[in-house]
């Protein structure tokens, strides 16, 4: 058990624990906080995988934006401060069964591919600075990934406009201005 393996086990356990607590917690704010723990765990795993830029983007985008958005939505969609009703719907056992079966299937697939088990992390050829530059160039290179990049930016623009329009409060005339 090398030190890196111990670190991986600790971070992986924290990520999974956070994930399980997200889907089990009744209090939604607590579920959102456990989600933040999971997201931070995934960011740490990105650092272990030597994808530093992705780790920082994960923290900035997921924890810094999406988690805050989720907490906002939780705060805005409740009539009373406490949660009410059971956390899971009556068919939770079918959901658990489905999840377990899919996990078992994936494990079987992994165990049958010896090439996956033998794959070792070869030392990365360039230094990290070159990797970030390569990622940047790949995203705008005409022969490589500029089309997905532009489509993703149009998607983000559409989502931005759509979210603003959908969440806008219903228009009501102000009390003093009807006679004008």
């Amino acid at each position: 058990m090398t030190a890196m393996q111990i670190v991986f086990l600790v971070i992986g356990a924290a990520t999974l624990l956070g994930g399980v607590m997200v889907v089990v917690s009744r209090n939604l704010i607590h579920a959102a906080l456990w989600l933040i723990l999971s997201l931070a765990g995934v960011a740490a795993l990105f650092v272990l995988l030597e994808a530093g830029l992705l780790a920082v983007v994960q923290v900035a985008v997921y924890i810094g934006a999406i988690a805050i958005l989720i907490i906002f939505a939780v705060m805005l969609t409740r009539r009373v401060m406490a949660d009410s009703g059971p956390a899971a719907n009556p068919n939770w056992w079918a959901a658990a069964l489905a999840a377990l079966m899919i996990f078992a299937g994936l494990v079987v697939v992994f165990m049958q591919l010896p090439a996956l088990g033998a794959a070792q992390a070869a030392p990365l050829a360039g230094d990290p600075e070159v990797l970030v530059e390569d990622l940047g160039r790949a995203l705008v290179d005409v022969d490589r990934y500029v089309v997905p990049f532009e489509v993703a930016s149009v998607l983000l623009l559409a989502a931005l406009i759509g979210a603003v329009v959908v969440a806008r409060p219903p228009e009501e005339p102000l009390p003093g201005e009807e006679g004008r």
Binding site: V42, T77, N89, A99, G117, A159, V164
Partner: protein
Amino acid sequence: MIPLTWYLLLAAGLFCVGLYGVLARRNAVAILMGIELMLNAVNLNLVAFWRYITPTVIAGQVFAVIVFAVAASEAAVGLALIISIYRRRSTVVADEINMLKW
């Protein structure tokens, strides 16, 4: 060193936990949190495969970056929809939003 299967198992576990959350939870925001877990598991998978199988080809990281963008936009629109539904029906419990049910 850390074998690739460890990362894949962790990602599979996270994905299945998120799947349970999507299928079993009543509150719509909690369902969305399960979706975020699934997207994170996918990202972890992509980056692990990039690092171990093809570290010289940057396509793995590009794919992960696009998934970030898609997840952000989906979370934004989904939460906007949930807030809008709450305004009209005063509930975000998925079982009670059933006007389109036959």
